[in-house]
C-alpha cells in the first residue's frame, strides 16, 4: 500500500521564480516549484528519498530553441547544454534538499500515473528508500510538438491540433502516513497525459498551487 504525503501543482505565473543557471524554458522552474512545495510541506530524509520525473517529450522548449539556433547557423548558448537533460533540474533539486537517493527520468506513452506509481512501488521496496517524489511535467510546445502530437494521435505530421498548457505535478509517496493512494483507473486520453497525476494531486490532498 502506498500513501500520499504531499502534492503540488505548478503552472506558469508571475510568481514562478526563475532558477539560477536555467534559461528560456519553463520546464525546470516548473519541476522545481512543484517539488519544492511538496518538500516544504513534508520533511524528508534526503538519503532515503528517490525522485522520479516523468515527461513524455521532455524539455521541448530547450530542444527546439537549440535546434532553431543550429539550423539558423548560430552558436549554442552553453546554458542550453547545461539544461538539455532533465537530470539538470533534478541535480539542482537534489542539492537544494540534500536528496542523495536515486533520481530517474522516464518517458511513457501510457498513463504516467500508473507507470510512476508502479515505479514508486518498486523503489519503496528498496531497503535504502522510504520516500519517492514523483513529478510529471509537460510543456505546451510549439509547431514541432504539435506535429509530434498529430503523429501520436495517428495522423500525419501537422501544425494544427489541441495544445495543453505548461504544467508540473508532484506527489510525495511513502508506505506510512497520509491517505492511501487509490489504484489508478484505466483512462482514455492522449499519450503521456498528466490528467491522472493531476487528479490524484488535487482530489486526495488538495494539491497546493
Amino acid at each position: 500500500m502506498m500513501r500520499l504525503l504531499a502534492a503540488a501543482v505548478a503552472e506558469p505565473s508571475a510568481r514562478l521564480a526563475p532558477l539560477p543557471g536555467f534559461v528560456e524554458s519553463p520546464f525546470s522552474p516548473l519541476v522545481f516549484e512543484a517539488c519544492r512545495r511538496c518538500l516544504d510541506a513534508q520533511l524528508v530524509d534526503g538519503a532515503r528519498t528517490a525522485v522520479v520525473l516523468c515527461s513524455l517529450m521532455g524539455d521541448t522548449a530547450t530542444a527546439d530553441l537549440a535546434s532553431r539556433r543550429l539550423v539558423g547557423g548560430r552558436v549554442h548558448n552553453p546554458l542550453l547544454f547545461m539544461q538539455a537533460t532533465a537530470n539538470s533540474v533534478l541535480g539542482y533539486l537534489s542539492r537544494e534538499f540534500g536528496i542523495t537517493g536515486q533520481q530517474l527520468s522516464l518517458s511513457t506513452l501510457d498513463d504516467p500515473l500508473a507507470e510512476t506509481l508502479a515505479m514508486a512501488d518498486v523503489l519503496l521496496d528498496e531497503p535504502d528508500l522510504d520516500r519517492v517524489l514523483v513529478v510529471g511535467v509537460e510543456l505546451a510546445g510549439g509547431a514541432r510538438v504539435e506535429a509530434v502530437r498529430g503523429e501520436l494521435a495517428g495522423g500525419a505530421p501537422s501544425r494544427s491540433g489541441a495544445v495543453q498548457g505548461d504544467l508540473a505535478v508532484a506527489v510525495l509517496l511513502g508506505r506510512d502516513g497520509g491517505p492511501a493512494v487509490p489504484v489508478p483507473q484505466a483512462r482514455p486520453g492522449p499519450p503521456g497525459s498528466l490528467r491522472g497525476l493531476l487528479d490524484l494531486a488535487r482530489t486526495t490532498v488538495g494539491g497546493t498551487r
Binding site: V51, M57, G58, A63, D64, A66, S67, R68, L70, V71, G73, H76, N77, P78, L80, F81, M82, Q83, T85, A86, N87, S88, V89, L90, G91, Y92, S94, R95, G98, I99, T100, G101, Q102, Q103, L104, S105, L106, S107, T108, L109, D110, E115, M119, V122, L123, D125, E126, D128, A143, R144, A147, V148, E151, L152, A156, P157, S158, R159, P191, G192
Partner: protein, 387 residues
C-alpha cells in the same frame, strides 16, 4: 534477497561494427574509433572528431532500426521467442528528427519523417512492437545513466518477482544537435583523443552505441535450459546532491551507488571485485572525482584493482553508455581479458589507479563492477559475476 538475475543474450553495435567480435577487435584491441565525422558539417565546431560510422553501425543511420536490430540479436542469442518481456530503453529520442523538422520550414504537411521518434517512449514502443514483446515498455531518459538505470530497474522487477524477463536497451548515434551542445559546453577533446585518467586529458568525444541485453530470473532461464552468460550480483544508484552538471569532487554519489551494489552482492568491501569498468569520460572533473570515489570504496586496495575506461575507444555513448559498457564488462569476464584504457599518456597523481594502459590484460576475473554517472549527479553501479 529475491530471485537471482542472469543475462542470457545481448546485441551490440558501436563504431567498430556489430557484435562481440567488433568489440574484441576495437575495444579490447585498444584501437580508438575516432575520426572526422562526415555525418554533418563540423566546420562550426572546435573539433570534427567522433567515433561514428558514416551511416551508423549497420548503415541505417537511424536510431529506431538499430535498437530493434540489437533487441532481435539479444533475443535470438537468449533463445527467447516473443512474449511478455518488459522493454526498458535508455534513449533521449532521435534528435535528427528535430533538426529535420526545423530545416523543413513550412513544408511539414508534406514531410514523411517520423517526427515522433524524437519522443523517447516512441522508441521503446517501437522496440516492443518490432519484436512482439507484450510487457510494460517505457524509456529512461536520464542522460548518461539512462540504460544502466533501465538495467537496474529490470533487476529490481525480476528480483522482486514482478516479472521474469526484460529486454533492456540503450541507444545514441552521433548527430549534430547533441554534438553542438557538447561543443558549446567545451566538453569535447579538441585534439581528437580521449585520454581518461591521463594528466593531459582534455575532454570527451562522442560515439555511436546501441545495445540490448536480455535479463531474466535464474529460475526462468533454468526452466527453459538457457545458459546464463553472466549473473547480475548487485546494483545501486545514488545522487551527488552537488551540482547540475559537475560531479561531486569526491565522487560521493558514485561511491554510494557502488557500495549499494557491493552490499547487495554480499561483498561490502569490494574484496571480490577483479575489474572496474569506469565511467572514465576523460574530462578534468570526472576522472578525479571517480578516482576519489573508488578510493573511498576500495580503501587500501584501490590502487591494485584494474580500472579501465572503454570510452577511450568507443567514445562517450551517452544514453547507451551503461548498456554497452555492461556488455563490454560481461565480455571481459567471459573472455578472461580486461579491456585497456587507450590514449593514456602520463600519470595524473590525482588519478592514481591501475588503469590498464594501452594493452588488454589477461585476467581470471570472476566479478566486475561497472560504473556510470550523469549530469545532475546521477550515478549507477552494477556488479557482474561470471557463472
Amino acid at each position: 534477497m529475491g530471485a537471482d538475475v542472469v543475462v542470457t543474450g545481448f546485441g551490440v553495435r558501436t563504431a567498430f561494427g556489430a557484435g562481440a567480435p567488433a568489440l574484441r577487435h576495437g575495444v579490447f584491441g585498444g584501437r580508438p574509433a575516432f575520426a572526422p565525422t562526415s555525418r554533418f558539417d563540423t566546420g562550426p565546431y572546435r573539433t570534427p572528431m567522433a567515433a561514428a560510422a558514416p551511416d551508423g553501425p549497420s548503415g541505417t543511420g537511424s536510431l529506431r532500426p538499430e535498437l530493434v536490430a540489437c533487441g532481435a540479436e539479444a533475443l535470438d542469442m537468449a533463445g527467447l521467442p516473443a512474449g511478455e518481456a518488459a522493454v526498458l530503453v535508455g534513449a533521449a529520442g532521435d534528435y535528427t528528427t528535430i533538426t529535420h523538422f526545423w530545416r523543413s520550414g513550412d513544408d511539414v504537411e508534406g514531410a514523411t519523417a517520423p517526427y515522433a521518434d524524437a519522443v523517447p517512449a516512441v522508441l521503446a514502443e517501437a522496440v516492443a512492437d518490432g519484436l512482439g514483446l507484450r510487457g510494460p515498455r517505457f524509456a529512461f531518459t536520464n542522460a548518461c545513466v539512462a540504460s544502466s538505470a533501465a538495467i537496474i530497474h529490470a533487476c529490481r522487477l525480476i528480483a522482486s518477482g514482478r516479472i521474469e524477463v526484460a529486454l533492456c536497451a540503450g541507444g545514441y548515434l552521433v548527430e549534430e544537435e547533441v554534438f553542438a551542445k557538447f561543443d558549446s559546453g567545451r566538453a569535447l577533446a579538441r585534439d581528437g583523443a580521449v585520454r581518461p585518467f591521463s594528466a593531459d586529458r582534455s575532454g570527451l568525444l562522442l560515439g555511436d552505441g546501441v545495445a540490448a541485453v536480455v535479463l531474466e530470473s535464474a529460475g526462468h532461464a533454468r526452466s527453459r535450459g538457457a545458459r546464463p552468460l553472466s549473473t547480475v550480483a548487485g546494483w545501486g544508484a545514488a545522487s551527488d546532491a552537488y551540482h547540475i552538471a559537475r560531479p561531486h569532487p569526491d565522487g560521493a554519489g558514485l561511491a554510494a551507488a557502488a557500495r549499494q551494489a557491493l552490499r547487495r552482492a554480499g561483498d561490502p568491501a569490494g574484496a571480490t571485485i577483479d575489474y572496474v569498468n569506469a565511467h572514465g569520460t576523460g574530462t578534468r572533473h570526472n576522472d578525479v572525482a571517480e578516482t576519489r570515489g573508488l578510493r573511498s570504496v576500495f580503501g587500501a586496495r584501490a590502487g591494485s584493482v584494474p580500472v579501465s575506461s572503454t570510452k577511450s575507444t568507443t567514445g562517450h555513448l551517452l544514453e547507451a553508455a551503461g548498456v554497452v559498457e555492461f556488455v563490454i564488462t560481461m565480455l571481459a569476464l567471459t573472455d578472461g581479458v580486461l579491456p585497456p584504457t587507450a590514449g593514456y599518456t602520463r600519470p595524473d597523481p590525482e588519478c592514481d589507479l591501475d588503469c590498464v594502459p594501452h594493452v588488454a590484460r589477461p585476467a581470471d576475473a570472476r566479478r566486475a563492477l561497472t560504473l556510470n554517472a550523469a549530469f545532475g549527479g546521477a550515478n549507477t553501479a552494477l556488479v557482474l559475476e561470471r557463472p
